[in-house]
Each structure stands twice: as structure tokens, then as C-alpha cells.
């Protein structure tokens, strides 16, 4: 059988193209391709070369439209035994091709050509084309003449023109030869034989029969030559005669041959136009051809020779003629019957040709799988021949089937199937995708077939000595089908891989990755989403959104700074896998990847950190890793593994390589888009004095020095410090101005940033555990979550200043440094309780009003006074009595250190002039330190003073008044509430001034946070502490008042020791003592009241009135109706006559008439009818006897 047959083959002149001498293969192919352009030479073109020697037998030759066809056979072909039967099988011309530079001696070329063409006895014309001759050769060759044609070196177009001329010459010569042959054959009747004709002794009957047949066969042969000469009409005439004769003689074989020629002549005549009538005619005649070939089958010759090949060829010709999509069914029928014939073919090479042709025809029809099936059959036939060339052919044929079987090498996939790529990318973006599109990734996966094909490719590649193809096939086999391969088979493949690699030069790359499977996995820092997924629920509403946001995330890398990507490697096979090196593959080239070597035991997986350094600004895409394993370098694309894993979840893939290695389900991600930015500064922080947690007692104030060093290559130009995390208020101050003043911070420079901390309240849970452990010494680290963190945002210089077009308004990227302030809080002093202590010491009635002790007393003076405690006893200026008010704090020390407590009251410079301390600068009043030993308790007294407001006015009850102003007495609950709010504000204000500091050891100090406790203690009596009474009552002896007028109101008078004043005010018995009571109105309203004065003796009896009165009085003592203008005082004079010396107490009291709301609120009255009763403090009068 012959390859590439078609109906028109009968009209083609076979030309052997032989290389003469050494012709480099590339050039030979080039020259051959030049020849191929001249497969069809029109008759009109050769008329100039044609000379009619005698009357042409081709009387109907179409000189204007006809043509000669050539079939060039490179390397020639051995003579066929059937060439008498079909003249187109004869090699009718020989063309030698010589490349002059490699064969300098033209004589030897001529000799070689002569000997070569001698093998082609049937050749009618021979020429030797010598290309690229040198000058001497040109000279030499022109003398030689003969068959040697020299093609002088020229450009391609000239050479082609030259060649065309030569071919036209050959065509003309052939035509003349055909004429000669036909003329010679007609009268003589050449004997033509086929292998079918018995060579055995012919009996007489057969000889007669053969003579009869001879005429028909001669006619058929002449028809063949007519066809070759391009004259279909002449051919048809001869064939018609031949058909008649063959039918008469029962020569079915030749009948079929003539009919074939007849059809060919018909087609040539129609010049290739195919209408349905022609098609039907061809179909009809060819079916007859096929049946006649079948009829000519002679049983006795079956072992030796069979016309089957002609039948099959005819079937293939028919199929090729009809080979169109619309007629697919019919063609398939012909091809199926042709395939059936393969069994009966004796010659293996015939079968090979048959399968090749069937595969090609199926391929033309678009039946890729059918084509692949027969291609594989071809490959199997090749593999049966045990030689290297056959193996190479087998390998190449199998490579063609890989597409249909979906086992392509990645190298061949790259261009085709853009749709698949799109799917892959959409998959990477979308995160979730439709089942259908997942399925389409695994379309047509017949794993059994794929494995067989790959194994055959491997086998043929090994035999063909192509280690790279073998490696690729073994890699594909191992990677895709490891679950179907036994461990022994896996080992075999592994050794096949290494054996192939041994024969490859080192550094060979292969498009097909082998093992391991590599998948990019999530960095663990975003474990939140992962944790949500590992919950007990199949569905978590949070996981989906997370998946989307995670895939969308973008990374920014910085030039020159190492980065890391986590990948998971899996070896699901039963052998030890050594990955010689693995590194990130970056096609964009602006990344230096660092290789890593990994060993993977059988059925194992490993998480590996791959790192590298971006080298230039731009984008970095990381499609996968480059792996050097089994001696070959391969690219492993992450997306493939992602697709594989998706397929595994959909039940489309045999197994998930990671899961079958028993790896925990790590969340695999697609590597996001990465952009690389210019170098940024890099701050490195260090806590001076060690990075360990600082152990602080509750409330301890501690200074911390954080040293920041620029480890980058660019100066820090901008920086901003902020806080985050819990307990932010524990950071009292950050000296960010030090950082700012240090800017720009050059690379390598360092700056130290002081931070002041105050330890926060010890967490209750911690306190519990500390208490349970028995002693307070347990160092229990508080949870990390409660630490505040220092955030430093910083950036380098602006880039591209010279190019304003590109950096319109883009802010250069900056960085954030997170400095966790590691603090461990220990329980410090613990607060037990607080309460308010107050006492009143009655004043002596003297000549003067008791003078208020003012806070303008300078501290130095206070310190210089002999008894410090005296200073604490102060006259309440509004009450007129000696008042002492302390806030007592009970503190216990559960720790093992000693604390010293300092109480101070901070008075700030206030702009409110109604403050008593209004004109003072901030000052602190120190009191003696209190020492609390370990495991001891102590009480600390905080004197409450300086807090009184000078005036009882509506500013205190401002809301209250407004409400009353709108509609008086409407609802007291509302005003009550307002009052409370105001009160609270005042209390807070008061409390914030009280600081309780402690010190422990040399360098540990802090402040107690006891605001709440103080507030609780003061809550009930705050009004008394803060507000003055509405009225102040004072008693004095009138005579002293006369002596020292105006002195009482003077606030500037130097401090006078109070008791010395009081000493002067002693009263003599039996003497009229003029006295006066001073009533001062502390409100801004006029107060109308009825004042009464009582005098009591030591026993508390009223000694003015009654029967046993020991004190006589002149003047009104009770029911005195007076009116006091606002902020003024009035005097009421009276005289007392003490009969008995001793101690007496004078008390003034008054009932306020028409009290307003302020007074009511102050007096805490419930109803508006209740009389407001004001009582002054008691005054002592010491009456001494006259004796």
C-alpha cells in the first residue's frame, strides 16, 4: 500500500528526488520545498520546450487548460511489483540534488548521480540540479553539459525562476517520452503483468486467455500514460476500450484498475469541480471498483499476494474523495470497512500505512478521538518493530494523540485553549465558581486511557533515546495518576525519571512538572478566618465573606527587603522525594528568589517558607515555583494545584494529594497581585533595658525608653506616634517631639523615645489567683491582650520629585511599627475603705471675729511653723468655728515591699474668681509621708480644705434655678436630678485634685487610683464639704470691736495665732459684758429672718431664761427680726451679766422667713412649708471670777 493516495494519484508523475553527495538536511529540505512549488506544470507553459517529433497520440490534449502533475518522492522508492498495473507507480523521472560547496568535484557528482539513477530502470528523464556552484565549478560544469544543471548563486526569486524553467523542461521531455511510449505500445502490445498473474507454467488454455487479456491491459496502460500526460479525454477513450475488453475476458482486477483510471480521468476532465452528479457518478463507479477488486481475490494466491491492498486503497480514495463533515456517516462507513481489512493484510507496513491513512482521514473529518485511536494503533505497530527509528516515529505519532487524550505536554498546551486559561483565572479571582466550569477543567479525563498513552510515550521515548520526552511522560504519569499506580510502579517511574535525567545535560528544563505538589498557603496571621472554618458547624456564615476578602488582598513588597511565602509541598508517592532546590518563580524578573532544599518522606507533606528579595520597582507575579527535582528543572504553577483541589472537592479527581498525605487542611490561597515599591525606611525598636515585660505595681509610674533605629537604606522623613490596644490611658506621655526633632532619621541612626507609663488597675481575675496562691509575691503575667501598643507610622522621602507628571498626588507608601509595651501589673497597695471624718471645735468668743486661715500662707511659712498639725486645724471662715475635716483612707499592703504614701492636694490656677484659691498659682501641699510595711494596713488622712465656695448662690444649683424660673415648684424630682449631676461634677473636680502618691524602694513610684472610693465616701456629705452655710454667726465682745475696727474684714492681715486671740477674750463675772452677734449672709439674696440667741451653761441648761437664770441680759435675745442684705453682715448688740464664773456656750439660731429655693436645697427640706432653721456653731465664753 502507498500512503497519501487519492483518486487523482493516478494522474501524477512520480519523480524521485535524490541527494547527490553530501547535502546538509536543512538545505535538502529547502531545495525540496522549492521543488514542491512545481508539482503542477501547466501544459501551456511547456509548449516552448516541446517539439512534436511525430504525430502525437494524445490527440485531445488540452494545451490551454491541462497540466502535468508531479509527485516528488524524496529519497526515491524501491520499484513496486505493481508498476505495470498502475503506471503512476513507476518512477518516471529522477532529479538529483547536489550542494556544490560540499561536493567540490563535479565529476564525482556526475558519477554518483549516474549510479543512483541506474536503480530506477523505469525513469525516462533524469537531471541533476547542482546548487550554489563556485566560479571554477561553473566554468567546469558548463563544459560538462549533459544532465548536470548548475544553478548559479543568486537570490531566491532568481533561483526559483531558474528551477521553474528546469521543471518545465523536464515536463516537456517527459511528455515527449510518454508520446513515444504510447506510440510504441500501440502496435506492439507490450506484455504487462502483475504479481497476481501466475508465474507457474501456463497451460494452453491460460495462454490463450492471457493473450486475449493482453489487449485490454495494454489499453489500460495506454490510458494511464494519457492520464499522466494530462490528456483525460484520450485516457477515457483508452479506458473505455480497456473496460470492454477486461469485462469480456473476466479480468476483474484490470477492470477495476481501468475503472479507477476512468474515474480519475473524469475528475481531471472536470477540473476538480464537484457537483452532486459527479459525486454520485464517482461514488457509483468506485463502489464498482471496490467490488471488482474484491472479486479478483484468488484463493490460491492468498498466501503470496492479494488484491486486498488495492481494495483498501480504493476504499481510502473514496473516503478521501467524500471526506466532508456532511458526509461523515458515509466516510465513517468506508473507513470502518477499511479498518476491518487490516486484519487480512499480510504485510505489517501495509497495515501501518492503512492505519495512518485512516487516522488522517478521521482527523480531516474532525473526529479527533477516532484519529487518536488509529494513531495509537500506528504507534503500536511502530513499537512492534524493534528499532530506534520506529520508536521515534511511534513517539511522534503518540505525541499527536496526546491532545485527544488530554495528556498533552504543557509545552504544547501553551498557545491553544485560551478558554481554559480564562477559566483558570476567573477561578483564581472568584474564589468560588460554578460546578460546570470546574468540570470543564477536567473534561474528557479517561484516566485508564491516559495512563496507557503516557506509558506508551514513555516506552517509545526510552527506546527512541529521547530522555527529555521520557522524563516528561513519566512526570505526567506520576503526577496525574499516582493514585492508580502501585508503589512498585511509582518507584519504577521515579527511577525512569532519574535515568532519563542522567542522560540529560544538567539544567535541562521540562515543561511538565513532576512531584511534589505545591500549593501556596495562607500566612497564619490571618487565622481568624481559618478558626471560623474549623468550628463544629458545617456552614459558617463568616467563612464565605472572608474567603473573598482574602483572595482580593493585595501585597506590597519593598525593594531590597526579604519577603516570604508559605507553600505546602506534598509527596503522595511511596518513595523518598528529594527536591534539590525549590524557589519562587517570577517571570517578571524583578525578584531574587532563594532556593531551598527539601526532603519529603513517602506520603508526607511539608510547609516550606520560600523567600526572596524584590530587586526593582514594579509588579511581581508569582505564578508558581521553580523546582529542581529528579535532575530536571520544572515550573510548578499554583493555579494547577488549585484547580486540582477544586476538582477533588467536586469528585472529579481521583485524590487530593495533600489530604492523602494526611496534611491538615491548610487554607490554600492564590498569590495576590504584588506590587513592589521603592525602598522604605525600616525602623527597629528596642526597649532600653531589655525587651522583657516590665513588672509594675498597680498605679506605678514608670519611665520607659524605646530606642528606634533605622535599619533601612532610606531616611525616615515623617513619623507619627499613636497608641492602640487596651489600657491606652496607662500611657501618660510619649515624647514624640523627640522623635520629630530627630527627623530625618538617617539609615543607621538611632533615637530614644521616652514613654511614661502608669500601671493600670490589676485585673480582678489576676488578683484572685494571686490571692489564692497565698502570697502576693506571685509574679503573674497579665495577658498580652491587655497591653497597650505603640504605633509608629513613618515614611521615607517623597519619590520622583523630578518627574511631576508621574507622581500626581500619590502618597508614598509608609510603614507601621508596632511596639507592644510589655507590662505586667502586680497588685500594689489595696484600698480597703474611705470615709469622711469631721469635727467641730467651738470657738472662743473674743474681741475679734475668728480669722480664716488662708491658703495664701506660703508653704515655707507653714513648714517653718513649729507644729505642723496645728495647721490642719483651721477656722472655717464661713462657719466661724474650728473645723477639722479629713478623708480617711484605709490602705493595706499585700505585697512584699514597703510603700510610702504621700498625699498632696493640687490646686490649679483657676480662672473662676469665686474660688477661694482663685488668685493662687498651682501649689501642692505636702503632708508627712505614711509608711506601710508589707502585710500591714495603714490609714492615711487627707485633709479636706480649701474647697468651700465663697458664696452660696445659684451657680451651684444653676439648673435647679432655671427650672424653677420657668415654672416654679413644678417638679422637684427634676431639679433633684439636676442637682445631683451638678454635685457629681463638683465632686469629680474636687477629687481630681487629691493625689495619693506612693513610693516603694528607690525607683518605684506611682499613684493610687482611688477616685471611686473617694467619691463614694464624699457622696453623702459633699454639700457640707463644698458649700458654705447660708448664714454665718459670730459672737464677739463689743469693746474689742471698737478698738479694732475693720480689722475683721481685712484678709491681708498677717497670720495670727488663733488661740492667742482667744486668750484675750476672757470675760469677767459680775460685770456687764457688751457683746454682739454678727450675722453674715452668704447668699446673693436678701434674707429675712428671726434671730434668737441662747446661752447655755456647762450642763447645757438655758441660763438666760427661766427661774434659775445665772445670766442676766439686756437687749433682745430672741425673736429679733432682722433683714440681712446679700453678702453683707449685720450686727446685733446685747449685753450679758454673768453671775457665776465658768464656761458658757453662746449659740445663735435663726428661722429664715420666705426662704428661696436655694436655701431650701441647701437645708435639704422636703416640703416648702417647712421652716428653714439655721443654727450657728456654739461659741465658748469663759467667765472668770473677779477675785
Amino acid at each position: 500500500m502507498e500512503p497519501d493516495v487519492s483518486i487523482e494519484t493516478s494522474s501524477m508523475i512520480r519523480v524521485a528526488v535524490l541527494p547527490i553527495g553530501h547535502v546538509p538536511p536543512v538545505l535538502l529540505r529547502d531545495y525540496h520545498s522549492m521543488l514542491l512549488r512545481h508539482q503542477t506544470i501547466p501544459l501551456s507553459a511547456i509548449s516552448s520546450f516541446y517539439t512534436e517529433h511525430q504525430k502525437s497520440p494524445f490527440s485531445n490534449q488540452p494545451w490551454d487548460s491541462g497540466s502535468l502533475r508531479f509527485k516528488f518522492i524524496l529519497g526515491g522508492a524501491p520499484p513496486s511489483p505493481w508498476e505495470d498495473f498502475q503506471s503512476n507507480r513507476k518512477t518516471l523521472a529522477v532529479i538529483g540534488i547536489c550542494h556544490c560547496p560540499s561536493s567540490p568535484d563535479l565529476d564525482s557528482v556526475i558519477d554518483q548521480f549516474d549510479s543512483a539513477r541506474r536503480a530506477y530502470a523505469s525513469a525516462l528523464v533524469d537531471r541533476c540540479f547542482a546548487f550554489c556552484p563556485g566560479d571554477s565549478q561553473l566554468e567546469d560544469g558548463s563544459k560538462k553539459g549533459g544532465n548536470l544543471m548548475l544553478f548559479p548563486p543568486a537570490d531566491r526569486a532568481t533561483q526559483e525562476f531558474h528551477l521553474q524553467t528546469m521543471m518545465q523542461d523536464i515536463a516537456a521531455s517527459l511528455l515527449m517520452e510518454f508520446e513515444k511510449w504510447v506510440l510504441k505500445a500501440e502496435p506492439a502490445g507490450t506484455i504487462v503483468k502483475t504479481p497476481l498473474d501466475s508465474q507457474a507454467t501456463l497451460n494452453s488454455e491460460e495462454v490463450i486467455k492471457a493473450k486475449k487479456r493482453r489487449l485490454g491491459r495494454a489499453q489500460k496502460t495506454m490510458g494511464d500514460y494519457c492520464l499522466l500526460a494530462g490528456s483525460p479525454v484520450d485516457a477515457n477513450a483508452h479506458y473505455t476500450t480497456a473496460l470492454e475488453l477486461a469485462r469480456l475476458t473476466g479480468d476483474f482486477f484490470w477492470y477495476a484498475g481501468a475503472l479507477e483510471g476512468n474515474v480519475c480521468a473524469l475528475l481531471i476532465d472536470r477540473m476538480g469541480e464537484k457537483d452532486s452528479a459527479v459525486e454520485d457518478e464517482v461514488r457509483f463507479r468506485y463502489n464498482s471498483v471496490i467490488s471488482h477488486y474484491r472479486k479478483s481475490f484468488i484463493q490460491e494466491h492468498a498466501q503470496r499476494v492479494s488484491p486486498l491492498t488495492f481494495e483498501l486503497e480504493a476504499t481510502l480514495k473514496m473516503a478521501r474523495f467524500l471526506c466532508r463533515r456532511e458526509l461523515a456517516k458515509e466516510v465513517v462507513g468506508y473507513l470502518t470497512s477499511a479498518a476491518d481489512g487490516a486484519k487480512s493484510l499480510i504485510d505489517a507496513s501495509d497495515r501501518l500505512v492503512l492505519y495512518v491513512e485512516i487516522a488522517r482521514l478521521y482527523g480531516t473529518l474532525g473526529y479527533q478521538r477516532k484519529a487518536a485511536f488509529f494513531s495509537r494503533a500506528v504507534a503500536q505497530l511502530y513499537l512492534q518493530q524493534d528499532n530506534r527509528l520506529a520508536a521515534i516515529s511511534a513517539m511522534q505519532v503518540l505525541a499527536m494523540t496526546t491532545r485527544a487524550y488530554r495528556v498533552q505536554s504543557r509545552a504544547s498546551i501553551t498557545e491553544d485553549s485560551p478558554s481554559k486559561k480564562e477559566i483558570g483565572s476567573s477561578l483564581a479571582e472568584g474564589g468560588k465558581m460554578l460546578h460546570q466550569s470546574v468540570v470543564s477543567l477536567f473534561e474528557s479525563q479517561w484516566s485508564t486511557l491516559q495512563m496507557v498513552v503516557l506509558r506508551e510515550i514513555l516506552l517509545s521515548a526510552v527506546r527512541a533515546g529521547d530522555p527529555l520526552a521520557a522524563w516528561g511522560a513519566a512526570a505526567r504519569l506520576l503526577r496525574s495518576y499516582y493514585p492508580l499506580i502501585t508503589p512498585a510502579g511509582q518507584n519504577g517511574l521515579a527511577s525512569a525519571l532519574s535515568n532519563s535525567a542522567d542522560r540529560l545535560p544538567s539544567g535541562t528544563r521540562c515543561a511538565d512538572p513532576a512531584l511534589p505538589f505545591i500549593s501556596a498557603i495562607q500566612q497564619e496571621k490571618t487565622g481568624g478566618a481559618g478558626a471560623a472554618n474549623t468550628g463544629p458547624f458545617i456552614y459558617t456564615p463568616f467563612s464565605k465573606g472572608d474567603a473573598n476578602t482574602n483572595t482580593k488582598q493585595e501585597l506590597i513588597w519593598i525593594v531590597g527587603e526579604p519577603v516570604q511565602i508559605l507553600v505546602e509541598l506534598a509527596n503522595p508517592c511511596g518513595f523518598d522525594l528529594r527536591v534539590d532546590s525549590i524557589y519562587l518563580s517570577v517571570p517578571s524578573g524583578n525578584f531574587d528568589a532563594f532556593p531551598v532544599t527539601v526532603n519529603l518522606p513517602p506520603n508526607s507533606s511539608k510547609v516550606v517558607t520560600l523567600s526572596g528579595i524584590p530587586t526593582s520597582v514594579g509588579t511581581v507575579t508569582i505564578p508558581g515555583c521553580t523546582v529542581h527535582c529528579f535532575g530536571v528543572i520544572t515550573e510548578h504553577v499554583f493555579k494547577d494545584v488549585d484547580n486540582l483541589l477544586l476538582g477533588a472537592t467536586q469528585g472529579l479527581v481521583l485524590s487530593d494529594p495533600f489530604r492523602c498525605c494526611g496534611s491538615a487542611r491548610l487554607k490554600n490561597i492564590s498569590v495576590p497581585n504584588i506590587s513592589v515599591v521603592p525602598p522604605l525606611p525600616l525602623l527597629v525598636s528596642r526597649v532600653v533595658g531589655g525587651d522583657g515585660a516590665i513588672i509594675l505595681h498597680e498605679g506605678e509610674i514608670h519611665d520607659l525608653w524605646i530606642s528606634l533605629a533605622n535599619a533601612g537604606t532610606v531616611p525616615v522623613e515623617q513619623a507619627h506616634v499613636s497608641l492602640s490596644g487596651k489600657n491606652q490611658d496607662s500611657v501618660i506621655s510619649i515624647a514624640s517631639e523627640i522623635l520629630n526633632s530627630a527627623l530625618p532619621l538617617r539609615p543607621g541612626a538611632e533615637v530614644t523615645l521616652p514613654v511614661t507609663l502608669r500601671a493600670w488597675r490589676h485585673v480582678l481575675a489576676d488578683a484572685d489567683t494571686a490571692g489564692r496562691s497565698g502570697s502576693g509575691s506571685t509574679v503573674r503575667h497579665s495577658k498580652d491582650g491587655s497591653n497597650p501598643t505603640l504605633l509608629i507610622h513613618y515614611a521615607g522621602p517623597l519619590t520622583n520629585i523630578g518627574d511631576p507628571a508621574t507622581n500626581k498626588s500619590d502618597v508614598p507608601p509608609g510603614r507601621r511599627l508596632v511596639v507592644p509595651l510589655q507590662i505586667c501589673v502586680l497588685p500594689g497597695l489595696s484600698f480597703v475603705k474611705a470615709r469622711l471624718l469631721s469635727m467641730e471645735i467651738p470657738a472662743q468668743v473674743g474681741g475679734n471675729l475668728p480669722k480664716p486661715v488662708h491658703i495664701e500662707d506660703s508653704p515655707t511659712e507653714a513648714l517653718s511653723s513649729p507644729t505642723k498639725m496645728d495647721r490642719l486645724v483651721k477656722i472655717d471662715p464661713f462657719r466661724g468655728s474650728w473645723g477639722l475635716r479629713f478623708l480617711e483612707l484605709e490602705l493595706s499592703n499585700p505585697t512584699d515591699v514597703v510603700f510610702e504614701i504621700t498625699v498632696s492636694v493640687q490646686l490649679e490656677n483657676s480662672s473662676h474668681d469665686h474660688r477661694l484659691s482663685g488668685d493662687r498659682d498651682a501649689a501642692e501641699y505636702g503632708y508627712p509621708k505614711t509608711r506601710i510595711d508589707r502585710d500591714c494596713s495603714a490609714r492615711v488622712l487627707i485633709p479636706l480644705e480649701h474647697f468651700k465656695l465663697p458664696v452660696l448662690d445659684d451657680s451651684f444649683f444653676v439648673k435647679d434655678n432655671q427650672a424653677d424660673g420657668a415654672n416654679s415648684g413644678r417638679n422637684s424630682s427634676f431639679s433633684e436630678r439636676n442637682t445631683k449631676a451638678e454635685l457629681n461634677a463638683s465632686i469629680k473636680n474636687l477629687i481630681s485634685k487629691i493625689k495619693v502618691r506612693w513610693q516603694s524602694g528607690r525607683n518605684s513610684s506611682g499613684e493610687l487610683n482611688i477616685k471611686d472610693a473617694i467619691q463614694a465616701a464624699l457622696q453623702t456629705s459633699v454639700m457640707d464639704v463644698l458649700l458654705p452655710d447660708p448664714l454665718t454667726f459670730c459672737f464677739r465682745l463689743s469693746r474689742y470691736a471698737l478698738e479694732e475696727p475693720e480689722n475683721s474684714s481685712s484678709h491681708n492681715s498677717p497670720n495670727v495665732q488663733v488661740h492667742s486671740d482667744a486668750a484675750k477674750g476672757s470675760v469677767l463675772a459680775h460685770e456687764m459684758t457688751p457683746m454682739e452677734v454678727v450675722v453674715r449672709n452668704n447668699t446673693k439674696e436678701k434674707i429675712k429672718m428671726s434671730l434668737s440667741i441662747t446661752c447655755r451653761d456647762v450642763a447645757g441648761e438655758n441660763c438666760v431664761e427661766g427661774t434659775k437664770a445665772t445670766v442676766l441680759c439686756s437687749g433682745v435675745l430672741s425673736g429679733i427680726t432682722v433683714e440681712v442684705p446679700s453678702l453683707q453682715e449685720i450686727k446685733h448688740s446685747f449685753s450679758l451679766y454673768f453671775l457665776v464664773p465658768g464656761e458658757y456656750t453662746l449659740v445663735a439660731a435663726s428661722v429664715i422667713d420666705d426662704a428661696n429655693d436655694i436655701l431650701r436645697a441647701r437645708a435639704r427640706t422636703k416640703s416648702s412649708d417647712e421652716p428653714i432653721f439655721c443654727r450657728g456653731p456654739p461659741y465658748h465664753v469663759r467667765v472668770v471670777g473677779t477675785a
Binding site: 473526529y367 477516532k370 460546578h435 460546570q436 473534561e443 486511557l449
Partner: protein, 136 residues
């Protein structure tokens, strides 16, 4: 019972979702592979033929040597039940296909079965083999 029979269900996207050698002949690996190759190649013919007829049972549509491929196409054209056999028991094959089709529909109704994925149910396998014994 047929000596050679190979039954395959091919999903849309041409993935074999169920494969079974149901012949009585001794199992040989290379033969089984050949059967699959023939069935795979026959898909080309099925894809054209399925659109030319309204019948679901396409009869014998392809052959290679003595092995005949019969195909039954479900109504949505996507799923093809293909049988490679060497016997000519047309009626039996038709009944076999119809019953397997019913089984396949039952599988599809399983909410846990993802259409287009491999049928791994052993129940299905047992039933198919029983049907093969009965009809082929």
C-alpha cells in the same frame, strides 16, 4: 451472556463516570484498555449521530474488528451509556440500557450526588452487573 462486554457511562464533558467490565471472558488488562480506547473513539460518532435521531437507543454505531459499540443517549444528550460487546443480542442490549438508565436517574436524584462526578455507589455497581448478567 456475552463473552466480552464493557460498559461505560460518559457524562457531559466526556468524563467516564462509571466503568465496568461486564463480560464473562477472563479479565485481561490490555483487553480492558483496548475496550476503553474503542469506546472513547466511538464518542466522535455518537456526538454526530445523537442529533440525527430522536431515539435514545442508537443501536450499534461503531465497531472495531469484532467488537461493536452500542450507545444509549439520555434525553439531555449529555450522558451516554455505552456498551462494547461482541454479541448481537439487540433486544437484550436495549433492555439493559433502559434499566441502567433508570438506575442512573435514581442516582441523579440522590441529593448528595453531584451530577457529573464519578458514580462510586457500590449498590449501583451491583445492580448494573446483575442487569448485565440478565440481559447480555
Amino acid at each position: 451472556m456475552a463473552t466480552t462486554a464493557c460498559f461505560v457511562i460518559v457524562s457531559r464533558n466526556d468524563i467516564p463516570i462509571y466503568e465496568a467490565e461486564v463480560g464473562s471472558a477472563a479479565k485481561r488488562e490490555d483487553a480492558a484498555q483496548l475496550h476503553q480506547f474503542i469506546l472513547h473513539a466511538a464518542l466522535d460518532i455518537v456526538q454526530d449521530l445523537a442529533w440525527t435521531t430522536s431515539a435514545m437507543y442508537l443501536k450499534a454505531i461503531d465497531r472495531f474488528n469484532d467488537l461493536v459499540v452500542s450507545v444509549y443517549v439520555t434525553a439531555d444528550i449529555h450522558t451516554r451509556l455505552m456498551l462494547l460487546h461482541d454479541s448481537r443480542n439487540d433486544d437484550g442490549i436495549k433492555s439493559f440500557f433502559q434499566e441502567v438508565h433508570e438506575l442512573y436517574i435514581k442516582t441523579l436524584l440522590n441529593p448528595l450526588y453531584l451530577p457529573g462526578s464519578r458514580i462510586t455507589s457500590s449498590h449501583f455497581d451491583t445492580k448494573v452487573r446483575a442487569l448485565a448478567r440478565k440481559y447480555l
